[in-house]
Symmetry: C2
Subunit: 350 residues, 2 copies
DNA sequence: TTGTACGCGTTATCAC
DNA sequence: GTGATAACGCGTACAA
């Protein structure tokens, strides 16, 4: 009857060492191991050393799934972003992930492709993991998503936009302000017939906010606005199409064009080169995003640089604060610190 | 004594509806709910309808943490990639994530920045989640990482390289072959004094494989190899530095230069423009990666296009096959299908 | 087809 | 400072 310990246990388990194995080897209670791993200071030096030794010997890796179940919240944070491979959001993902993992949190990532339905699916899937927090892009969600975000009892952050009235933590900038900023920059340069080219991707609602800012600035200046919606799906093509419609017409040409993003502007710029149109002399171009290509174009592209890395880092910090992992900044200033500025990058094209 | 059901239960739980709540409302056993959610066909239509109704009413979201604990393997897959925001890997991440989530799996992501230590930390953290599979980049890991990958009883995929001898599933291409491919392309164009510029980032060992391929091809052709290691940390600067050292010298100039990546090549190309060096007439340039900027440069950059999206998608499919989620391709051909080709993108610079 | 009993590995609670 | 016990919510095994 010596089977008690030596018996090949017919567990369902994964075979990995558990906290009990560690506890047995270190001759302590398993709860003490748990404590030691979290707050070593609460465990006496002697036991701590024995535990550390056992952990090493067994190659023990804590089972975060079990821990998450027991404590009802896991150390993962879900993030839904329109796209991963685009030129804009990758920096946000990276700085967000790095800031999180520096504090022991992991990143669950999914992309929505500007589709509210895909966003909803991702949020639902993430909620199943009892994430410590959730990050979404922008304030435009399906009704079901709104409900889930509200009812989840965890910190929720909306990035890449800033609306003071909304309840989720906002980390980003006002796209409306940016649209005004763009229009005013061109107005200051002396341009008057200024057009705005929207994105041909329908779900990019933030770009519509920038357009509205442009409209406001034009109205203030007492000028007629002029918006164009390309039909070509690919951004370079859409930019070319817009350029042809706005800058290559015989009469009433645009003096300057604002594009919903740098790829559209790049398409227009290349179309201008091909047509021999001097830029910015005959038509100035301004983008949004400051993509990697923008400084390399000829002429280099004047654009707006969004604080992509800052958004990721600050979003992570606000989450860690809300979770009590890091000390919070001076609370009153917090909201203002979340509202970031975009810089006009003045180059040759405008 | 009517407290039985109405009593405010002092559970530790998250407050979310559980499978038991659904079962109670639908008046079925909780296991039936579980079954219905996985294989609705095994549950009779009537009960199924009641369950569906209850799920909707309670906004029930299955707790994946609990499910993962019970079944000892969760529906997450961990991926460690050198960097998220770089121009190369984002497409792999995106296609990988999309293929996974189409089958109900989630992506846990971390970046290593070409550091084996950071990779090790990420793998260790991921293992705590009992992931269904793990994906790493390349075959170069710390000893501890190797051990963990071997002992984890789950599918492991190494991407962005291809070494037939290694045990983990390989999905990628032979960097050695690519180096040869680059050198041979330039040799075919008639260039003889061909140099190779390494990455100034020390951990990029795949680039060294390409260099070795270049060395082999040069040896085969009976030509003297010439490698240069820039010291400037920023890629554009490093490319300029290399161009000045190899192409702007008074005698014995390089006729063609292969760069470890397109950013280095772009830096060189811009330096050439500035110095008034005709490219490719006086010095041809070839990159690797086919970044977004490369077709837009003047002259446009000849380069190698790695199958970034294919790597992500195929890696995901191999994992799903190994997990039995999707039917596998014809097994014998499988290994060969994992070895992908890189295309030479012949443009103006070489 | 449906249900019961139990275990998954950890942490919260409470006692010592 | 340390430990015993009971959840956490679901899936597996087996019985009905």
């Amino acid at each position: 009857m010596t089977e008690e310990k030596a018996a090949p246990r017919k567990r369902r388990g994964s075979g990995r060492a558990t906290i009990h194995d560690v506890a047995r080897l270190a001759q302590v209670g398993s709860i003490t191991v748990s404590r030691y791993l979290k707050q070593p200071s609460q465990v006496s030096g002697e036991l701590g050393a024995r535990i550390a030794q056992a952990v090493k010997e067994l190659h023990y890796v804590p089972n975060l799934v079990a821990g998450g179940l027991a404590s009802t919240h896991s150390r993962v944070v879900g993030m839904v972003i329109p796209n991963i491979s685009g030129p804009i959001f990758a920096n946000t993902i990276e700085s967000f992930s790095d800031t999180l993992s520096a504090h022991g949190y992991q990143l669950l990532l999914a992309s929505s492709y500007f589709s509210q339905e895909q966003e909803e699916n991702a949020v639902r899937a993430f909620l199943g993991w009892s994430p410590a927090a959730l990050v979404v892009t922008g304030p435009f969600h399906s009704k079901a998503t709104e409900t889930m975000l509200t009812q989840a009892q965890i910190p929720v952050v909306e990035t890449w936009d800033y609306r003071p009235r909304r309840k989720p933590i906002q980390v980003g900038f006002s796209n409306l302000d940016v649209g005004q900023q763009q229009a005013r920059y061109l107005l200051d340069q002396g341009y008057r017939r200024i057009a705005f080219v929207q994105n041909s991707v329908p779900g990019d609602l933030s770009a519509l906010d920038r357009r509205d800012g442009y409209l406001e600035a034009m109205a203030e200046a007492g000028l007629q606005p002029w918006t164009f919606v390309p039909t070509e799906p690919a951004p370079f093509d859409a930019g070319r199409q817009a350029f042809e419609a706005l800058a290559l017409r015989k009469r009433g040409r645009a003096e300057a064009i604002i594009f919903a993003n740098d790829n559209l502007a790049a398409g227009a710029l290349l179309a201008g080169q091909r047509a021999g149109v001097p830029i910015p002399q005959q038509c100035a171009l301004m983008g949004f995003g400051d993509y990697a290509i923008s400084p390399l174009l000829l002429p280099s592209l004047t654009t707006i640089r969004p604080p992509a890395r800052a958004i990721g880092e600050i979003a992570a910090l606000r989450i860690l604060e809300a979770l009590g992992v890091v000390a919070s900044d001076t609370p009153p200033a917090k909201a203002r610190l979340n509202r970031l500025a975009c810089d006009v990058i003045a180059r040759e094209s405008a």
